[in-house]
């Protein structure tokens, strides 16, 4: 394939903009992409797609589809079914990179829980090759759903204490761990990903101090800060593990192409057609099926590393050190084979290895030794290495890990690790947080010895300190303080619902144990709510679905979640009251009803109201007048104005707000229900101090959107109170359900008081 490097200037004769583009405007650039789709051998070459400064990945997809307009491929795919990214390195490379690079690679976990069983097994094979690297256990696994705030906070903690920590949020981590036989090693498969990735970009890497992760962003902020322009930071992508020696990076649809280009390939025009970005059909199984073509694809982007790869492969794979771990694998394999799915996985493994063999013929870059060793690995020939294993594990007298089940211990250990920070040459230790009753396929006692074969680095370490300190909360270990709740494994809502999880939180978490985690978890809940509209029910579903490895479906974001807020319905017509009330009750939102404007003002003064649905034409006191009155009161006592302590000392008024002080700091949001479409009405409503309006008859769909929108706004403004509400709801939701049947007739419900005891609890979390 002939490949002229692309220049920044107008590129090819076909570029129409060539003559018309002024120098200082966006020049047409091109990026090479290549379809990864064995159905379509006709498009088995790189395609140049033009893009402009502001094009996103999604735009690129559109252009690609347009370009291939007539092909079968484009009829089978659309923007959502394809993804753009690249394949990246093998664990063998990784091993090298990791041992070379400073410890503490950060692995960004996004979609791993999506990986199907076959993937996990493949992953375990990956362990074969990577066990040598004992200093690669620094892994930061971040759950996709972590809020960036939470992440930052966690990350800071980790950084300062120099812990090497696997953090998890929700059930995802346990799922991952269960799916992967050896959690200690598993990370290794990934740590080099970033190493390679950044190497790729010609940047040196020292991950622990230089990588920052915010919500699924790979932020190369710290890497040679001076050399990277700010615009290059924050590349957004997901990583998925394809098998033991490949993962793929999928760029988020809204990522800007130019940034990807400059990050991956460098200056504009550098990319060769022989190193295209890959176009994936998003189904990961698909990419496994076509693995036979994979090798030629992965090594392309890694071509700059290839020589280095080869050397490393030799190093690693022919050493005896592999064997203990591989035995471990066979063990695990045997174990997991009890499960039906694993039979399939097993099959896939074999076939994939066959594929590898095939592809080795196709690709010169792919080192033969690499494949050979893989083929000879004990996973496939279990007997060969078992003897080795025994010997190795006998020499292993001291376990590399400690199980910690109470917080005091944890604090000590983490302190000691933090103090260790200045010991530069020893491998860092990691604290692995495991869910309570963690079972999975991981057997720490036995596997531990197997998993960490004594390499030199490991020996060094052992003389100093235990290597890894996981929490295992299995049957044999007495556990006291640590509960799943603390790491957010199970949403409290799940408490009462049937769940696949074998465990349920049963004691309130200790307050001071790990504030970072618990706090971040709460924030995560909150932000997710406001950002994705997913339901609380949806969240639990999500948890459930992650416990089911066969079902990696994305959650729909259109499902409604309603923030935990109190609503005041101001409506004179009983029928409308009933309908609104039923709707709110159905969505488990607390509400009060006022029949006219006067009543509305009074009920609002009682406090605790986040949102008012205000009919405008009301008897006694109209909605507009009521809104005005409310705004005046707010002004008087300084609600919504940056707090001046003295301003709230107006006794006569602040009296009534005393019990709601915390929540009253945010102005109430008033949504007017205008009966007519007349602009005058709406204007009058807004002028009176309403924040928004809906036209009657109120469409319930719109109503729910408004509730989400404004409720979340309130949640952000008044987070503490809102947070309490969240937990209050989870605690009371079952009771409410029953109560709601009765209260339907009465139409009102005052939730705040009866749940005050729960609020205290919520504060403590």
């Amino acid at each position: 394939m002939t490949t002229d490097p692309i220049k920044i200037r107008p590129l090819s004769p076909t570029t129409t903009q060539r003559t018309t583009t002024p120098l200082n405007t966006a020049v047409v650039w091109k990026v090479w992409v290549k379809l990864e789709d064995d159905l379509n051998s006709s498009i088995n070459q790189s395609i140049a797609i033009e893009f402009t400064q502001h094009d996103t990945v999604d735009d690129l997809k559109s252009k690609l589809l347009l370009k291939l307009n007539k092909s079968r491929w484009s009829t089978l795919n659309d923007n959502t079914s394809i993804a753009i990214g690249l394949y990246i390195e093998t664990p063998k490379i990784m091993g090298h990179n990791v041992s070379k690079s400073p410890r503490g690679s950060i692995y960004m976990e996004n979609n791993l829980f999506k990986s199907k069983p076959k993937l996990s097994l493949q992953q375990s094979i990956g362990n074969n090759t990577s066990i040598n690297n004992t200093d690669t256990h620094e892994l930061f696994t971040f759950n996709k759903s972590f809020s960036s705030t939470a992440l930052n906070r966690d990350f800071n903690t980790i950084k300062t204490s120099n812990l090497h920590t696997v953090t998890s949020s929700g059930a995802l981590i346990s799922q991952q761990l269960q799916e992967r036989n050896s959690p200690f090693i598993y990370p290794q498969g990934h740590s080099p990903k970033i190493s390679a990735f950044s190497k790729f970009t010609g940047l040196s890497l020292s991950p622990i101090n230089t990588l920052q992760i915010s919500n699924f962003k790979y932020n190369s902020n710290g890497i040679h800060r001076q050399s990277i322009s700010a615009s290059r930071n924050d590349l957004k992508y997901l990583t998925e593990i394809i098998d033991n020696n490949t993962s793929r990076i999928i760029f988020e649809p809204d990522e800007i192409i130019i940034r990807i280009y400059s990050e991956v390939f460098g200056p504009m025009g550098v990319q060769q057609s022989s190193e295209p970005l890959q176009v994936f059909t998003t189904d990961i199984s698909n990419s496994i099926n076509i693995k036979s073509r994979r090798c030629s694809q992965i090594d392309v982007p890694l071509s700059k590393l290839s020589s280095h790869v080869n050397n490393e492969n030799m190093n690693i794979n022919h050493s005896n050190n592999i064997s203990p771990n591989s035995n471990n694998n066979t063990k695990n394999l045997a174990e997991t084979n009890k499960l039906k799915r694993d039979i399939i996985m097993n099959y896939e493994l074999r076939s994939s290895s066959n594929n590898n063999q095939k592809t080795s013929n196709d690709t010169e870059r792919f080192d033969d030794t690499n494949i050979d060793s893989e083929m000879n690995s004990p996973t496939f020939n279990p007997n060969t290495s078992s003897d080795n294993l025994r010997r190795e594990s006998v020499t292993e007298t001291e376990p590399d890990f400690r199980i910690i089940t109470d917080e005091e211990q944890l604090r000590k250990v983490s302190n000691s690790i933090a103090n260790d920070e200045n010991i530069l040459h020893a491998p860092k230790q990691a604290i692995l947080l495991l869910p309570k009753n963690f079972e999975g396929d991981v057997k720490f006692e036995s596997q531990q010895n197997d998993a960490y074969s004594p390499t030199s680095a490991d020996m060094d370490l052992k003389s100093k300190k235990p290597n890894i300190i996981p929490f295992q909360e299995g049957d044999t270990v007495p556990h006291s303080g640590l509960q799943e709740q603390e790491i957010g494994l199970i949403h409290p809502l799940l408490e009462g619902s049937p769940s696949n999880e074998p465990t349920l939180p049963n004691t309130p978490p200790n307050i001071n144990s790990r504030p970072t985690l618990t706090d971040s978890n709460i924030i995560h809940k909150g932000l997710q709510t406001s950002q994705t509209n997913s339901n609380i029910v949806g969240t639990t579903d999500e948890l459930k679905s992650t416990t089911n490895p066969v079902k990696p479906k994305m959650r729909s974001t259109s499902e409604n979640i309603f923030p935990r807020i109190n609503i005041l319905i101001v409506e004179d017509n009983v029928i409308n009251q009933t309908i609104l009330g039923s709707f709110l009750r159905k969505n488990k939102i607390f509400y009060k009803v006022a029949k006219n404007g006067r009543e509305a003002v009074d009920k609002w003064k009682e406090g605790g109201i986040h949102l008012i649905f205000m009919d405008l034409q009301l008897p006694v006191l109209s909605g507009t007048d009521a809104a005005k009155e409310i705004r005046q009161y707010e002004k008087k006592i300084g609600i919504g104005i940056q707090k001046k302590q003295s301003s709230s000392s107006d006794l006569s008024l602040s009296e009534s707000f005393l019990n709601t002080k915390s929540s009253a700091c945010a102005p109430v949001i008033i949504v007017a229900f205008t009966a007519s479409n007349s602009l005058a009405d709406k204007r009058a409503a807004l002028i009176a101090g309403c924040n928004d309006y809906l036209t009657k008859p109120v469409n319930l769909h719109w109503l729910s959107k408004k509730i989400t929108e404004w409720g979340c706004m309130q949640g952000l403004i008044d987070f503490d109170n809102w947070k309490q509400g969240q937990s209050r709801m989870t605690n009371n939701v079952l009771v409410k359900k029953q109560a709601s049947l009765k209260s339907r007739k009465s139409g009102t419900k005052i939730p705040t008081k009866q749940s005050s005891s729960h609020n205290i609890e919520a504060d403590n979390i």
Partner: protein
Amino acid sequence: MTSIPADIIDWTILNEIIYMDEDDPDFSKSLIIQFIDQANTTFDSMQEELDNNKDLSKLDNLGHFLKGSSATLGLQRIAWVCERIQNLGRKDENFFPNLNDLLSTLSEKDSIYLKNLDLSVYSKDITMESTHADNEYLLMITKALNQARIEFLLARKELSRYYKQEL
């Protein structure tokens, strides 16, 4: 003035409420029954207002009130008439169409409900000898009220058919 909707019931709206029957069977029916009650009461109040006090703003409020619930239930022709009453009461409008003109707008499928409907009560010419200052508006509101009662009968028929019982 917009023209009156052709369909008696906007089912997209009513279905949203019927959807809530999932949790509470007969929820929507109980609302309809409540509405029928409310409408009768409101009509009577209007009539009384027309006969006695002749207070336009009262009529405005009554019209607005019934408009709210009828619109919420998707009874859009009633809501339309109520809006006329409201606007007449505010003197925003000064005209109300004739009965036959309005009935002729009924959609074909809804016309069946006109069968066996005795309109004689409502179709007699309204003549109001009065010196009241707002006589013109009161006349139109009387006309509209008659229309509202007819629309109400039609709506009841369709709802009775849906709920398979006389409402």
